[in-house]
């Protein structure tokens, strides 16, 4: 197999890895906010549901969660799960990453001094004006380094879709390497992940420096 054929096959997997990455962020970033609010709720039932959710999703392996998400419909309802593979990958990743983002958001929201809320309250801001204008912009700045960490981990974690035999770049590299008894696919995959992460780090740094205008 020539290098160019190998690369063109692997590039299909790279696009799929980017797809997992982008869709996971798209769903888990807002879902994490919902879970963070549930976790901070005054309602004990809602708060404890969120607490258990975060505990389980952070306390068990993502690979195992992917298997559960994929196979549960079959075992529970004998549902036909062919064609469900990609959706299962995205659901599994999003549920898992939302748990981590929720805790990052919670930390960020709780780090905002009470005085900010009080100043806004005395000036007559509504609750939602206070959150979106005063609290959230400061939270975003505070949590960026922690979010960057998660996002970088996500780039590498996309390889766990291997557990569901979803043909992203790592799964393909392993198949090609085994079939051709060739080490090169692993090198290509490694370079892909590394370059992807260099790009992610670059973008996140740019965003951080954009928010550097205040302390």
């Amino acid at each position: 197999m020539s290098l160019s054929i190998m690369l063109s096959q692997l590039s299909v997997g790279m696009v799929r890895a980017v797809g997992i990455f982008a869709l996971t962020l798209l769903f888990s970033l807002p879902l994490g906010m919902l879970i963070a609010f549930a976790r901070m709720s005054k309602n004990a039932i809602i708060k404890n549901i969120a607490r258990v959710y975060i505990s389980v999703l952070r306390g068990t392996p993502l690979m195992l969660q992917l298997l559960v998400v994929y196979f549960a419909p079959f075992y529970l309802w004998h549902a036909n799960i062919s064609g469900y593979r990609f959706a299962a990958v995205i659901i599994g990743f999003s549920l898992n990453y939302a748990a981590y983002f929720a805790e990052i958001y919670r930390g960020g929201i709780q780090s905002i001094p009470q005085g900010q809320y009080e100043a806004a309250q005395v000036l007559g801001y509504s609750k939602s004006q206070t959150f979106f204008r005063i609290v959230l912009p400061q939270v975003v700045k505070n949590i960026l380094p922690a979010v960057t960490n998660e996002v970088i981990t996500l780039v590498k974690d996309t390889s766990l879709a291997f557990a569901l035999a979803y043909q992203e770049v790592f799964t393909l590299a392993k198949q090609i390497a085994a079939a051709q008894t060739n080490f090169i696919p692993f090198v290509v995959a490694a370079i892909f992940y590394y370059v992807f992460n260099v790009l992610v780090a670059f973008v996140m740094e740019r965003i951080e420096s954009k928010m550097d205008y205040y302390r």
Partner: protein, 254 residues
């Protein structure tokens, strides 16, 4: 005309009674200072007056409008959120720790609430905000961020922010306590200037000499009650209560 009236107010935190049957009223153009040791309840009184805390009992009245009204058992019953929102526009509060919004420029800190909350014309508000900053000696700081300012400058911005809402009464909660001693003077001067312009103010402070000079009326609180009240001359120069004398003796050098 009474701007603020508080009748028989009570407040407790757990087992601790912080306010025990406190009453006071503030006339238009009057400057009232509240002095007393830490834990005397004076900051809690201010926080209840500015709706940051709720009273357990008593009346809280701004210009005849009841924010809270005592029921037949004396328990405070608060007005609806819509009414409270209107009543809130009567007062401003200057915090001990400024509580400026760090992600806003100085000008935006001063301008946003009048535009957003009071729905006033942006250009008009901007002109007024610049005028307020000029008065505070900060016209060249409009575009900088709070972290670039000294504590005294930040506190002046927070005074401008409160004044931009055109309150009928302005509360100060230990406005100089977070400042270096050499910076307290500039804030006290701003408050004196406001008093000269007949701004109605209630000031919780530990600055006895300042309270004596700027106030029309002084309230000495201890243990959740008003121990002594009257003109500065009565309370500071000729106190009649032992507790007042003991408290003031610590400030003798003022």
């Amino acid at each position: 005309m009474k701007i603020l009236e508080i009748n028989n107010s009570r407040k407790h935190f757990g087992d601790l009674e912080v306010l025990k049957d406190i009453s006071l009223s503030v006339e238009k153009n009057q400057v009232v200072s509240i002095i007393g040791p830490s834990g005397s309840g004076k900051s809690t009184l201010l926080r209840c007056a500015t709706l940051l805390e709720t009273l357990d009992g008593g009346d809280l009245i701004y210009l005849g409008d009841y924010a809270a009204k005592a029921d037949e058992n004396g328990n405070a019953v608060y007005a609806s959120p819509e009414e409270l929102k209107k009543i809130k526009m009567n007062f401003g509060l200057v915090f001990q720790n400024f509580n400026l919004f760090p992600h806003y420029s100085v000008l935006k800190n001063v301008m946003e609430a009048p535009v957003l909350v009071q729905k006033r014309n942006k250009e008009e508000v901007k002109a007024e905000a610049m005028e307020l900053l000029r008065k505070m000696g900060l016209e060249d700081k409009a575009d900088v961020y709070p972290y670039q300012l000294s504590g005294g400058q930040q506190q002046r911005v927070s005074i401008a922010r409160a004044l931009a809402m055109k309150p009928n009464i302005l509360f100060f909660d230990e406005p100089t306590s977070a400042l270096d001693p050499e910076l307290t003077g500039e804030i006290l001067k701003v408050i004196k200037d406001l008093a000269a312009e007949h701004m109605t103010m209630v000031i919780v402070t530990h600055e006895m000499a300042f309270a004596r000079d700027v106030s029309d009326y002084i309230i000495f609180m201890d243990g959740g009650v008003i121990v002594e009240e009257g003109t500065p001359d009565q309370v500071i120069n000729h106190p009649t209560q032992e507790r007042t004398k003991l408290f003031l003796s610590r400030f003798k050098n003022d």
